[in-house]
């Protein structure tokens, strides 16, 4: 057992196009310590979501992945699809941005939470799976879980739906949770609750977390290590404290400057300028 849970080296994701392959992620390197929390920050189109899908092996059709992704000592890029499937959901779980469209409207949340559990563990009865679902829902603080387990996604509010998504990952006790903009579709107060919940779960289970976001405020609350990406390139990485107090790259400084502060003098909101680009 090593201390590094995830080791990414030279990860490149490209799409074939008329004028040669277009690279959306370019030779990315980063590590995630066991139980650590890594924030990947960047604007839309910076390649952060593609990075997460590359780790999951869920890139869209036509995308090509090169480089190395080592999870708990196993090289994921070398795994055949069938073996990769045993990692997905079981050891590496993912939470997506829009909880409504990410849940199937035709099935109860209980069915969808228990589904992964039933498919990864053999000989699980319906009743056991249901108990697991209820327990997972209780752990994400959904009140009245025993009744709510039979409700459909459209019967939940946005924040509750995201809790359902998190419960879905929890039932498997994964070692790594990848959260791709988990709070972007939610309003601010609910955002804070979901971030608290993620922190609580990490503390409980010791799972590693990769948090992908465009929102520095979100990342500052959760991550202990930060990777800044732009146009598929790694801009800079370091501990959260170092990135926030002593950013090296001009782009990182611009990003930080663009966050409005309560003690700011009143003026124009700073945006990213061409010089930093």
């Amino acid at each position: 057992m090593t201390d590094t849970l995830l080791r990414v080296r030279g990860l490149t994701v490209s799409f074939p196009s008329a004028n040669g392959p277009g690279e959306v992620v370019k030779t990315l390197d980063f590590d995630l310590a066991r139980g650590g929390a890594l924030g990947i920050v960047g604007e839309s189109g910076s390649g952060k979501s593609m990075t997460s899908l590359a780790i999951m092996g869920l890139l869209p059709k036509g995308a090509e992945r090169t480089g190395s992704i080592e999870f708990d000592g196993a090289e994921l890029t070398a795994l055949p699809e069938r073996a990769m499937r045993s990692y997905r959901g079981d050891r590496i779980a993912m939470i997506f941005q829009d909880p409504l469209s990410s849940l199937n409207p035709y099935y109860t949340v209980g069915t969808q939470i228990a589904e992964a559990y039933r498919s990864h563990r053999s000989g699980v009865t319906r009743r056991q799976a249901r108990a697991v679902a209820i327990e997972a829902m209780e752990r994400v603080h959904i009140a009245d879980a025993a009744r709510r387990v039979d409700h459909y996604p459209h019967q939940f509010s946005g924040g509750m739906r995201q809790r359902v998504m998190i419960a879905m990952t929890l039932s498997m006790e994964p070692e790594l949770i990848i959260a791709d903009e988990p709070t972007t579709a939610l309003d601010v107060t609910v955002q804070a609750q979901i971030l608290d919940l993620l922190a609580e779960i990490r503390a409980d289970t010791g799972a590693g977390l990769i948090l992908i976001t465009h929102d520095l405020a979100v990342v500052s609350e959760v991550a202990d290590h930060i990777v800044v990406m732009r146009d598929g390139d790694l801009v800079e990485q370091g501990t959260a404290e170092r990135i926030f107090t002593d950013p090296q790259a001009p782009y990182t400084r611009m990003l930080l400057d663009a966050v409005p502060r309560i003690d700011d003098e009143i003026g124009l909101l700073r945006t990213l300028t061409e010089e930093a680009r």
């Binding site: 999951m56 869920l58 499937r85 045993s86 990692y87 997905r88 959901g89 079981d90 779980a93 993912m94 997506f96 829009d98 469209s101 990410s102 849940l103 199937n104 409207p105 035709y106 099935y107 109860t108 589904e115 992964a116 498919s119 990864h120 409700h151 459909y152 459209h154 019967q155 939940f156 509010s157 509750m160 998504m165 879905m168």
Partner: protein, 332 residues
Amino acid sequence: MIRFVANRVLGMLVVLFLVCLFTFVIFFVLSPDPAVQICGKNCTPEAIDRIRANLGVDRPFWTQFGTFLAGLFAGRTYGTGANAIECAAPCLGYSFQSSQAVTDMIVQRLPVSATVAVGAAVLWLLAGVAGGLLSAVREGKFADRFIAGLTLTGMSIPNYVLALSLQFVLVVTLGWLPFPQAVPFSEDPLQWFQNFLMPWIVLAIGMAAVYTRLTRANVIETLQENYVRTARAKGLSPGLVWRRHALRPALTPIVTIFGMDFAGLLGGALITETVFGLNGIGKMAADSITKNDQPVIMGVTLLAAFLVVVGNMVVDLLYTAIDPRVRVGSTA
């Protein structure tokens, strides 16, 4: 849930009433005087007046419409005295040309049309959904393109061309099927089946083409859904992702279209029945148009409207079983 059904039934009744009204207006305004038709060659103005009074067509529009509606529920009597004609409920009118109540004519021919519709529906549903699924799985590959070509051909061939060609090839040239003779199922099941085989195929081909395209598009679209990605991220096997997360949402819209198409077809397949000489509602409609037998045309029109409206309602009710978003309201 009960309120939903009650709402639906109420809405259906309103639509049916309006359909009756519009149909009645059209035939009231456009219809040539039925009395003149009945009266025949040696006609006097007095005779025409007498027939008009007998038929009730001398009375104002709303009275006639009222009588018609009442006839639907309670039956009605045409004329008086010894010449009176009883038309039992639901009375859709009386065909003076064939001396038969329209309802009886429809009831006699409904089994043939229903047989045609059911057989064709089974064929086109199986072929369409299977073809669509295969096409979606092999998107962009040879099978997909081949099926696309087939559907285009299927949609382009007019029914009567297909019907006549099939007859020519299968019956005349190859002799695989006997020349159609009307036999009831109980007498000679094989001949019965052979009689209906060609009409089924002819009707099914065009529809199967449409259903293939629809299924393909729905499946491909559903596979792009975020919840399918979630299912994959859970590590479910591709088979499970397909069966559980892609098929059900993709096939639900097919139910809607199918309900409408099938109900429409129950009201008779005009061209196919005529070409194959099947004595169904479609052929009856075609014949009565040629003979200008107004009550029959109107009866068939109402029947078709009724079937489509009812079919639509059945689909709506089915949806409550299929789609939880319709069944249970949002509590959030």
